[in-house]
């Protein structure tokens, strides 16, 4: 782990009862959903983490608690260091408070995570879909969403597939 972030990690562990994992020199800090606003405010105001590099999520289906991790990849320009915060989210409790008032970039990023994983960011100022079409009622990056291969048409199944085509219904 980078020497510069060791005291910051310690502060986070003491203040938020956070756990820390390390892999290839990167620190992954786990905090609870209701603490994320305070944690990011603390990091931005006290520890010069001005840039929220990435905000994304990952799905551990079929595991339910926690099913998702919301990932906040932080950068500090002044200290030239990085830190990753992870918020575990249960499959039946998809609410995470928004951080778009702390980092403006979170506005679009949270819309994307909401669109792709169905995680609801409470208090988001603009909760519209961003990447998928308006009529898609699903969250494509969830692990239980099918990849959507189209079955190839051969002679033995030509008619069956033909029936399911849009033009066949007219």
């Amino acid at each position: 782990m980078d020497k510069k972030i060791e005291p910051i990690v310690q502060t986070l562990q003491e203040t938020f009862d956070a756990t820390c994992e390390e892999f290839r020199g990167e620190a992954h800090i786990f905090v609870k959903a209701d603490q994320i606003v305070d944690a990011l405010t603390l990091l931005r105001d006290k520890h010069e983490f001005e840039l929220l590099s990435a905000l994304t999520a990952t799905d551990y289906y079929p595991q339910q608690t926690p099913r998702f991790h919301v990932i906040y990849q932080m950068s500090s320009l002044a200290q030239n260091t990085t830190l990753q915060l992870r918020v575990p989210v249960a499959g039946d409790q998809l609410n995470v408070p928004t951080v778009s008032h702390i980092y403006q970039t979170a506005n679009w990023r949270e819309r994307e995570v909401n669109d792709m994983f169905g995680i609801v960011f409470e208090g988001h100022p603009d909760p519209r879909k961003i990447l998928t079409p308006d009529d898609l009622d699903a969250h494509p990056l969830r692990k239980d969403f099918p990849l959507g291969y189209e079955e190839p048409q051969f002679t033995f199944n030509f008619d069956d597939i033909d029936l399911s085509k849009i033009y066949a219904k007219e």
Partner: protein
């Protein structure tokens, strides 16, 4: 017939001003089929006469589900898709992806491969900035710029074809190095380019930099201050034009960038002109790096261009004919792939547009559990509304061109 959706007040009522209701301002739809949106971007613009009050970007028209697709492919096969994200920075995308894989499985890259990677990404940076400059001129009615820039870009495309057999979608970098060593003609081809290009950059500058019409359209237009830029996650030349000296090649050197001498051009004004001039200066800095890279390449002649860690790289072609084990390895490598640990890494490179980060998570098997591409254009576009307020529609086109967006990069 599907209903053609009009820009309606109801959908955007929390984003536009109250004056839309009274008819004082109007909502105008710009794009997604519009030449100055550089792809399939749609802007819902609120106009007061000809002055922009708000501009709301609507993206997703080029969403291809690359991140989802990668989860079903092995680490090697998923790399091919990274070319298609930012189609002007294909080599840089490969680099970001390969570095993430290398970090995840802890794989080394031999020095010669690192030098080749640096030369290729810097050439790509020049090519990408040329495609910024050409359409930028086109949007400001300097049409000949477009033709000149694409003429020079062709040299770089030829160099890529020489090395990898492909002009754009090269997939030349592989985890652990590069696909094969550069051919003998490589050095003379790059030297040929370096010989003509400085003069050409001077020509562009002679056409544009002091042109009063050009300056009238750019100076003081689309101001972006450093604090707003960082809050919106803006990186790359846009951030440097706003006065923040932040370049990942200097800040967190990768691929041996710490051994190269180059400057990071910055400006403090943060207007459209400074975003243009920062990129022009980056042409010259990139040429410096390529020049030094060629020198290093000569020193490292004959050294391997792929890691010796056979767990993650294929056996050399010559060995397959004589060794049974190599043949089995070759077969297993390309069908099964290699396993990655059940953990995650984040690695970032400086693409021509900014911080291109890859979040990669393995699940113990040969396929990634999750790949997220942190693309710079996504953040750079989100700040557009802050820059265009109070300017004319014609300025909106200039500002949008100065952001240098690539829609494939935004929508993924």
């Amino acid at each position: 017939m599907p209903q053609i959706e009009e820009a309606s007040y109801a959908k955007y009522k929390h984003l536009v001003s109250e004056r839309v209701l009274t008819g004082e301002t109007m909502l105008l739809n710009m794009g997604p089929q519009h030449p100055s949106t550089h792809g399939v971007l749609r802007l819902v613009v609120e106009l007061d006469g000809e002055t922009v009050v708000n501009a709301i970007p609507e993206i997703g028209y080029l969403h291809t589900g690359v991140e989802k697709n990668m989860e079903s492919k092995t680490f090697l096969k998923a790399e091919v898709m990274t070319d298609r994200l930012d189609y002007l920075n294909t080599v840089g995308n490969n680099l970001a992806y390969c570095m993430a894989v290398e970090k995840l499985v802890d794989l080394d890259v031999p020095p010669r491969a690192q030098v080749i990677r640096v030369i290729m990404t810097e050439l790509q940076r020049i090519a990408s900035h040329l495609v910024f400059l050409g359409p930028f001129g086109l949007d400001l009615a300097a049409m000949s710029m477009f033709l000149y820039c694409f003429r020079e870009r062709e040299y770089i495309m030829d160099i890529f074809e020489l090395c990898s057999g492909q002009r754009m979608m090269t997939t030349y970098f592989r985890p652990g190095g590069v696909w094969r060593d550069v051919p003998e003609e490589f050095e003379s081809a790059v030297r040929g380019f370096l010989k003509i290009f400085p003069k050409r950059v001077d020509e562009y500058e002679a056409l544009l930099t002091k042109n009063p019409i050009f300056l009238d359209r750019l100076v003081g237009i689309g101001m972006l201050d450093a604090k707003t830029a960082i809050s919106y996650g803006v990186t790359g030349p846009m951030l440097r034009a706003s006065g923040v000296d932040w370049d990942l090649r200097k800040a967190r050197p990768y691929m041996g960038y710490e051994e190269y001498e180059f400057d990071v051009p910055t400006r403090t004004t943060g207007d459209t002109f400074s975003r243009y001039i920062v990129r022009i200066e980056e042409f010259r800095e990139s040429m410096k790096i390529v020049e030094q890279g060629l020198k290093k390449l000569k020193e490292l002649a004959g050294q391997p261009t792929l890691s010796a860690n056979r767990r993650f790289v294929p056996p050399p072609r010559a060995e397959i004919g004589v060794s049974m084990e190599a043949l089995i390895h070759h077969f297993k490598y390309w069908t099964e792939g290699f396993p990655a640990p059940k953990n995650s890494v984040y690695s970032a490179v400086e693409s021509p547009r900014g911080e291109l980060g890859v979040y990669m998570e393995g699940d113990g098997g040969p396929k990634p559990h999750r790949v997220h591409m942190r693309t710079p254009s996504f953040c750079n576009l989100s700040v557009i509304n802050e820059m265009v307020r109070g300017h004319l529609v014609a300025d909106l086109v200039a500002i949008l061109a100065s952001v240098d967006i690539v829609l494939g990069d935004i929508d993924r």
